[in-house]
Subunit: 135 residues, 6 copies
């Protein structure tokens, strides 16, 4: 009985999209308002989906309390109420687009979850924009 | 023209996660607050997705009024305002985790829907936890 | 500068509406499906609103971390994952309608919050029904 | 690094489901209240999902500002605050079911988006009914 | 114990804002896209709030099943899947703005609800615009 | 016929709560994670409510297109994708708590709206915290 379980969490972070080698004008041309120099921010909504067999004893694909703990350690603690560009190593040289945030969260969670489970990440930057990884 | 149609319905039920052979303490260790003996409950949100060809005459994959009627008979009537552990045969010996609720709803709806349609179930236990079956 | 701050919390509980002196039939006539004997449940959404002066130093009407702690002690701990009829003294002889749940939460929180703040409670039983107290 | 980006947009339109060769009675039998002759309407919610490689320079799968502009030209301008049956060529002879609306939006957007990107459309007619194309 | 109970219902209708004595151009200048001649539509979300004493026996301000029935007869039956301008007497000569829809629903429900209850109507035309009456 | 019309808008901003005369430790003690030095951010949701007489000719309390334009000029342009502490004069020396953000938006909009209309501001910082001004 292969099934999924998804856990939703929230983190509130500042970020900015820009390339350091470009001028402010060039960055705004490329990234629009997301390039404004002093950062803006979002209430990011994260969905972590695990796919695996339902344990016939417990009825769980994965213990949601364990999943919550892992997400908290890998994502909420380092990202929540932080500036993604300034406060994290992952985005110090990588643009924190919603696509890249998905990939980074996947890379952080993947080693913490037994490989017998498929892992999928969805992040909503706003109610109007979201990304999924992997596809 | 293969497409999907999804119908969302709600049911409000009590449930409890536990194994009868375990002590209260052991159940709480395994299932956390979900094992509390006198039941708690949820506003379950159910998404039923059918995949099939769009009927070129009506423009429907499936008549949503028919789908609503089937969901009502198979899920809402037996589960809504009921105790899943005590009032249903399906969960009398099966833990009503959100994963198992998905599987049971799938098994109840599958014989009622022509096999030319794929069927997928998603159930939200809360806004923070949901499951899908099959994958 | 008089303003409000509202905190939203969730608790998942079982309940049942009934009068012990009535038969099952009479209870169902009076309370509909809410009277079914083995309980059902809801994801209750609670909004606690405090009205008071904005502290000119902090910019807070009330420290939201303190409010969260009080709500947790008075509401979430005793009600979440519990059966309101069986597990609480407040509803042992009082019907846990959404109106009464509002009043009870008000009565539990009022002594914990300085009387210079007005206090208002809103509880959503489902997305379709909610109550406020006081008016 | 293959990933997705989804953009959500809204359009408010009138529509009616019917077959011109049928009587009013027959149409209501086939399409229910959706066949009422003077039209009704919805706040349609559109999700447009592109799948492709993340550009290693920008961190984008697709520039969301470009996607917004294309959706605006192809969907919002012609459909928003319009009568789908009367004001559009696409639905002048095709029933504007939510399934067909998905297909039509796909057909309008597909030529505007480089074929290296996969394109998927989801339309919510109401919070209770939605469709996806292709599957 | 004075409290409130609110019931939420949905109706899907077509409408158009215009003055018959004005030209199409003048109407669009005054009402924007809402004046387009062939109608558009919305998923209207209605909140009906009654304020009164909590009945000490039932715990209800008002029986929600009765309220639902009244709303159905006065609002859902005549407005849902209808064209507000063409299919209703109330809006045959009155612009169906969200403000006027609130007033009309108030006037239809007020005689059906005992005057010992205060009545308040809120209507969401979209997630971005809503009105309340009376204030 | 006195009624209200509410317009919802969104702005995405960075902010930080702190007192410059306090140490980092003291600020974190007072403001928790909101004091982290490199800013975090939110998708702020703004509700602007005007109360006034319904114009018997148009059916409007206030032309929503005019209201949208004023909100855009006074709030969205200066605050959206900006750092409230660094990029605005209003919060250069005032803590951008959700309570103060409400007051500041009120003070910016009040002179732009005829005094015959009452004005009320609600701001959601997250889905869990919101404020209203005036009360």
């Amino acid at each position: 009985m292969r099934s999924t379980i998804t856990r939703r969490e929230i983190f509130n972070s500042a970020h900015r999209l820009f390339k350091p080698e470009l001028s402010d004008e060039e960055n705004i041309k490329l990234f629009g308002k997301c390039a404004y120099p002093n950062y803006h921010g979002h209430n990011y909504e994260l969905h972590v989906t695990l796919t695996g067999d339902i344990d016939p004893y417990t009825g769980f694909v994965y213990d949601i309390a364990d999943l919550k703990k892992i997400i908290n350690e890998e994502v909420i603690e380092p990202f929540d109420h932080r500036n993604l560009n300034l406060d994290t190593t992952e985005f110090s040289a990588l643009n924190p687009t919603v696509e890249n945030i998905c990939v980074v969260i996947y890379q952080k969670l993947r080693p913490r979850i037994d490989s017998k489970f498929d892992l999928k990440i969805r992040v909503y930057e706003t109610i109007r924009n979201y990304s999924e990884f992997p596809v």
